[in-house]
């Protein structure tokens, strides 16, 4: 399984990343999720902070776990940090497999676990006000769904 994990300030190109997962011809299916900054009220800037090295290590552990659950040929995870605006891309999870079922499932699994395990924090700016985004219990519930499945 080829794995690419990148934490970066720059934007990413979905088509190029999917192309990278399919060049060897092994994958019959690529499922991808792209997360964007949602425009909510007067949100002007979303700033993402992370824990360098642990972030990459934690995502690598999640990808390895996905690789034990489904037959995957490649996984790419890109997460942006720094200052983002409404509409900007934040995260990409792209999963390649021989068949669609594994690709769909592993993509959702990785997003659910990334949201609850990867050490990123979002701070919202609304006018002069700054505040840290609170975590959602619904995200934890989404990750727990996978705990009993294999």
């Amino acid at each position: 399984m080829q794995t690419r994990i990148r934490i970066q300030r720059e934007d990413f190109d979905l088509n190029a990343e999917v192309a990278n997962l399919t060049t060897d011809g092994e994958a019959g299916a690529v499922a991808s999720f792209t997360g964007h900054v949602r425009k909510e009220g007067d949100l002007s800037t979303l700033t993402l902070e992370h824990y360098p090295h642990m972030t990459e290590a934690e995502i690598a552990r999640l990808v390895a776990e996905a690789g034990t659950r489904w037959p995957l040929t490649g996984v790419t995870v890109i997460h942006r940090v720094g200052s983002l605006k409404p509409g900007d891309r934040i995260v990409l999870v792209a999963v390649a497999s021989q068949h669609r079922h594994a690709a769909f499932q592993a993509c959702e699994f990785l997003m659910d676990y990334l949201k609850t395990h990867a050490p990123f924090w979002k701070e919202e700016a609304r006018g002069e006000q700054h505040h840290w985004v609170e975590h959602r219990h619904s995200d934890e519930d989404a990750a727990k769904r996978w705990a009993d499945k294999s």
Partner: protein
Amino acid sequence: MNLLYFAWVRQKIGKSEEQMAPPVSDVAALIAHLKNLGPHYADAFADLSRIRVAVNQRHAGLDATIGANDEIAFFPPVTGG
């Protein structure tokens, strides 16, 4: 040990990293030690239900054993994705 703070934990304590060698052997005792260092620390650790811990870049619990060469990070529940 090397301590790291992120997000509002970093802001409340007023620094992102520091080294210290307190006489503690688990995370809970380290937090108790930190809370005695001043009001900024006491404020940051006032509600432990809002604090998450990593030891050597892995998620850990308050009962995790720690030693002099460990990296211990404190942060709020994560909000990436």
